[in-house]
């Protein structure tokens, strides 16, 4: 066949070397990474971004050594909230601070794309294989209950946070030990009722749906719609996403076409953008009532401007903090989990400056 030249021989040997080397380096790298992340101080920089507002917060975490209460316990929070979804940063902070206080290790898995079920399911399955000491998960899709059951059957305690199953019985059957979060449908009703101070009976309203088809969005919408029907109002649903640029353009188009709209609701946190739209059209604040859920910088800004009247805070910090604490207590003292309604805290002009301060720090 072919004679092997010296150069060929060298290239062959180096190719073999490269493959073996890769394996060895991989192994060493892994070992080193595992060994050095215990007992280190890690600085995490998070950028809280929306289309219009960006803030950077620096959070210093001490992974171990500060407290030993829950040392060695590992928890995983699996969420559907995409990386551009600002709300989840507060949940994440709550989770991290609970972990810091107790010396536990908690990690949050967020998909690349908001609401990507396939990715979330894959993450869930990988997590079950990894066998943490507890899993926290919102039931954004009823399919997730199957995996809750799988985790429970594998001996991993599961707490449901932020979004409950539409029928809480199903959640219990699947093994979800408690629900920590806002009670969604009543919250929708509450928001609409609270905002009704600012618009007359029989008006036309717009409801922005940031996550069409997702449980949390549909439940809140149901609550809003229930009140509006009682209040003799007509309404339209408009599908949007958490991408503020998209919301702005669609709301603008809608309000142009429907100038009779007297109230704008959001099942998420994007309705304040309607304030921006109205301002740019020269409409004074208060003419159109706007209500929303959750506290993000956008919400604070437009309450201050006067266009946003009411925001309902479900206190995401608690939704990150409390599940971790509950799991630790269950593990250490055999206590059972308990449901928590993280609330219908109203934020409006009267308390916005206090909330603003805390929001800047990421707590609300």
């Amino acid at each position: 066949m072919k004679r092997v030249t010296r150069r060929q021989a060298i290239s062959r040997v180096s190719a073999v070397g490269a493959i073996i080397g890769a394996g060895v380096i991989g192994g060493i790298g892994g070992y080193l990474t595992g060994a050095t992340t215990g007992g280190q101080i890690r600085t995490v920089t998070e950028t809280v971004g929306g289309a219009t507002i960006t803030q950077t917060r620096v959070i210093t975490q001490t992974l171990a050594g500060a407290a030993d209460f829950a040392k060695g316990l590992r928890f995983t929070y699996i969420t559907h909230g995409g990386e551009e979804n600002v709300f989840w940063n507060s949940v994440h902070l709550g989770m991290q601070e609970a972990a810091k206080l107790t010396g536990a290790d908690a990690v949050m898995i967020r998909p690349k794309r908001e609401g990507d079920l396939a990715q979330e399911v894959a993450a869930f399955e990988s997590t079950i294989a990894e066998k943490p000491d507890g899993i926290i998960v919102p039931i954004a899709y009823t399919e997730l209950l199957t995996y809750v059951k799988k985790a429970t059957d594998a001996g991993i305690p599961v707490i449901v946070a932020n979004i409950d199953a539409p029928n809480p019985e199903d959640r219990i059957k699947a093994g979800g030990l408690s629900y920590i979060g806002q009670y969604l449908e009543p919250a929708g009703y509450f928001l609409a009722k609270t905002l009704s101070k600012y618009f007359p009976r029989g008006s036309h309203a717009l409801i922005l749906i940031e996550g069409p088809g997702q449980v949390w969005a549909e439940e809140r919408a149901k609550g809003i719609q229930r009140f509006l029907k009682e209040y003799d109002c007509t309404f339209d649903r408009l599908d949007v996403s958490f991408d503020l640029a998209v919301v702005e353009s669609r709301v603008s188009a809608y309000l142009e076409a429907n100038p009779q709209t007297k109230a704008v609701f959001s099942v998420g946190y994007t309705s304040p953008i309607a304030g921006k739209v109205l301002k740019s059209k020269g409409v004074p604040p208060g003419q159109v009532a706007i209500g929303t859920f959750d506290i993000v910088p956008l919400v604070i800004e437009w309450i201050n401007e006067g266009y946003l009247q009411v925001a309902i805070d479900q206190q995401p910090y608690l939704q990150g903090f409390l599940p971790v604490i509950q799991l630790i207590l269950m593990k250490k003292y055999g206590l059972s989990a308990w449901d928590v309604n993280t609330g219908n805290a109203v934020v409006d002009k009267s308390n916005v400056s206090l909330v603003e301060e805390l929001s800047r720090k990421g707590y609300r």
């Binding site: 060929q8 070992y31 079920l117 399955e125 088809g213 599908d239």
Partner: protein, 326 residues
């Protein structure tokens, strides 16, 4: 002894070596941090979720070798299962509904192909249009709500059933299709035409190859694979989501490139795509297993792309030198 040596020579001159090396390195990396990574249950997860995306990557790889792109595969991936469910809801027999869905996928590919080839508009643009159109149709038809899939046991089994430890039907489909496309690409006339059309279209035409037909067929295959992948995922999850497959086109193209397929056409490898698809899922899965924040995924994949392509070029240069000398 001589045969063994030549086998090694050939092995290390192949384009797939770089991605195989990275795969091995990545596996040992994750395993040494957290041995659970290679536990039976985790391996099962990996093998179960990769095929539906890998099938799409196979189609894109062939199309890229032929010199074109398909940015609509994610939207088709989401739209076709939606369409199939709609048919079933309206009383169409499930098998017929699936076949119709696949035919629709092929028709979509035909449209992309004919428009690209006859108008000379770059495929990047025509399929970008496809991306928006089919996603839009998906959302319009469903109002943004997910559709639940009810499929008789036997049919669901045909696409996603478990037939042996670690082996599910979707894996069988994946490897069967990979094998079939490999045969077409490397061992048939048509495959030679694909390489020529993507490598230098004028040459293929001068030698009498109908490059228009070749490209149209490749577009059809790409959309068909996207539709099939979507149907498999929907069967596995029990529903079709309006945003299913969102962004899949970039993942599929990245996988093809990491595996050794050229962005410029005329050169590529299906084996590389298969390896790279597993690599992609392994990275995702591994980062979760070692409890790294999931933000690192994009960073890692970006690094892998750069490393893989650089190593590819390096190995290619070495093999060029040794070939000229032989």
């Amino acid at each position: 002894m001589l045969n063994y040596k030549s086998f090694i020579v050939v092995l290390f001159q192949r384009k797939e070596i770089s991605v195989a090396t990275i795969l091995l390195g990545t596996i040992t990396f994750f395993y040494s941090i957290q041995p659970v990574f290679l536990s039976p249950s985790n391996v099962d997860v990996l093998l179960r979720i990769t095929p539906e995306l890998g099938i799409v990557a196979l189609g894109i790889t062939l199309l890229m070798i032929g010199g074109e792109f398909d940015l609509s595969v994610g939207s088709v991936f989401g739209f076709i299962p939606m369409f199939t469910i709609l048919l079933i809801e309206n009383g169409v027999h499930p098998i017929l509904a699936i076949v119709s869905g696949l035919l629709l996928a092929a028709a979509v590919g035909l449209v992309h192909g004919v428009v690209t080839v006859k108008t000379g508009i770059p495929s990047f643009i025509t399929t970008l249009g496809g991306l928006l159109i089919w996603r839009g149709v998906s959302l319009a038809v469903t109002g943004g709500l997910p559709k639940y899939m009810t499929m008789p046991e036997e049919i669901a089994f045909l696409f996603t059933g478990k037939i042996a430890p670690f082996t599910h039907m979707q894996m069988v489909w994946f490897f069967a299709l990979a094998g079939f496309f490999y045969y077409i690409l490397e061992r048939t006339k048509f495959g030679n035409w694909i390489y020529a059309t993507g490598g230098k279209k004028e040459v293929a035409r001068a030698m009498g190859v109908n490059t228009d037909h070749v490209k149209i067929i490749l577009f059809i295959l790409s959309s068909l694979m996207a539709g099939l992948g979507g149907i498999i995922q929907s069967m596995r999850l029990g529903q079709a989501l309006p945003n299913q497959g969102d962004g899949l086109e970039f993942d599929a193209i990245a996988v093809a490139v990491i595996g050794g397929t050229s962005l410029f056409g005329g050169s590529g490898t299906l084996i590389g795509t298969v390896i790279a698809e597993y690599l992609s899922r392994i990275i995702e899965n591994g980062l979760i297993i070692i409890r790294a924040p999931s933000y690192y995924f994009r960073l890692y994949i970006g690094l892998v792309i750069i490393i893989a392509v650089t190593v590819n070029v390096y190995i290619l240069r070495r093999s060029i030198r040794s070939r000229i000398e032989s």
